[in-house]
Symmetry: C2
């Protein structure tokens, strides 16, 4: 598999404290799989400058693209844009085009841009804006890093603004086979099939329902022929 | 805040491919907050030996404890136990006590332990077993790393086996205040309150419902007096 690789960085105390169940990671993972980008790693860190910068630098060096979620609003704990600028070693300031877009979100226009709102127009030098059709305040792209909002409706919209600009690979295809036996009954045979089809990723997910054990076998590949052959081999186990 | 710190490592292709929405992280985050352990970072990696070992070593060096989820079943892609042994530089083999516990899960007892099932009794040298009342196959604790299953019902049960053995801190207390104004209207005042109460973490979470903007302000602290004072200051903004 030589698809482009990606990582995600989720920024926010609310996930780590257990208050909020993440939705953005699940959404992005599904969308990236559809367009043939392999999400390889996710990190979730607090609203902490050192943690954010360290994670950004580790991930942007290791993967083709990095998507961040959270920390670009108007409040004191929204420090993502400044951390991205620091990670890249570039300046950051309120930018005229971002300010103008932001003003369109308020009936009073520019007059509505108090200092808190103006924080949302702070863009690192050299970045490209990401369109936010939901609430205007833009995300931005710098190098291979895509910085997006944490509010799920806005994050989702920004993802759709970004995806057409990415070079994807072959979409990841998948098949699922349900076996009414426990995982350990088929593990040996599955290992053999996995060895025979190295381009197919085979996962097994045991479940227990109404007191009976079963296993969902999920096969994934970018190669349709290999996927079909491996899926048939798994079906033969039933 | 000098509460003990923790990190979590979620291991599994099924989360990164978007097939499964994580439930274990959300569960653990909530339980750790209740007993006064600060979850500071989460990483999600694929069933990949190098990735797992690198993440384990980074996290166990940086936080007081590390909790892992996934990759300890009977199939070829269950490589977590071997990766933990490699990360600590210790041996790993089928262990008599783990084997005995595992056998109790099958009516046929020891006779049921085929090679796949025996993988679940492979325990790194020096580890302590973690009780699994749901399906017997044990997790284990080595150093400051707690290795648990990915199946949510089993993960949840193992967490309850582990938590009483942890030294917790003061439970994290929280209060929430709903304000029927946009986040940027209160951001300036919130920043002031945050500066005044450094021991209280203040997060703001904007929402839009029926076309109206609002903001949930969530305050968290281990200090009840500080929390109440900061919450009153936020309520005065309404």
């Amino acid at each position: 598999m030589s698809n482009p690789t990606a990582a995600m960085l989720v920024i926010g105390d609310e996930i780590l404290s257990g208050r909020t169940r993440d939705a953005n990671m699940y959404h992005l993972a599904g969308r990236l799989a559809q367009i043939g980008v392999d999400l390889r790693e996710v990190r979730i860190v607090a609203d902490d400058q050192q943690q954010i910068i360290a994670a950004l630098n580790a991930l942007r060096g290791a993967y083709d693209s990095v998507f961040t979620s959270g920390g670009i609003g108007p409040t004191h704990d929204d420090i993502t844009a400044d951390c991205v600028a620091a990670a890249f070693g570039v300046g950051i300031d309120v930018r005229a085009d971002a300010r103008k877009i932001l003003a369109t979100n308020y009936p009073e226009g520019e007059a509505a841009l108090n200092p808190a709102r103006l924080r949302m127009a702070r863009i690192p030098d050299g970045a490209t804006l990401i369109d936010n059709p939901v609430s205007k305040a833009p995300g931005f792209n710098l190098g291979n890093v895509y910085v997006m909002a944490g509010v799920p409706a806005v994050f989702t919209a920004m993802v759709e603004s970004v995806l057409p600009t990415l070079v994807g690979g072959a979409p990841l295809l998948s098949e699922a086979v349900r076996i009414d036996r426990g995982e350990s009954d088929v593990a040996g045979a599955l290992g053999g099939i996995a060895g025979q089809y190295p381009d197919v990723a085979i996962g097994s997910y045991p479940f227990q329902r109404d007191g009976r054990y079963g296993t969902n076998i999920v096969l994934r590949s970018v190669d349709r022929d290999q996927l079909d052959a491996a899926t048939n081999a798994v079906r033969a186990l039933i």
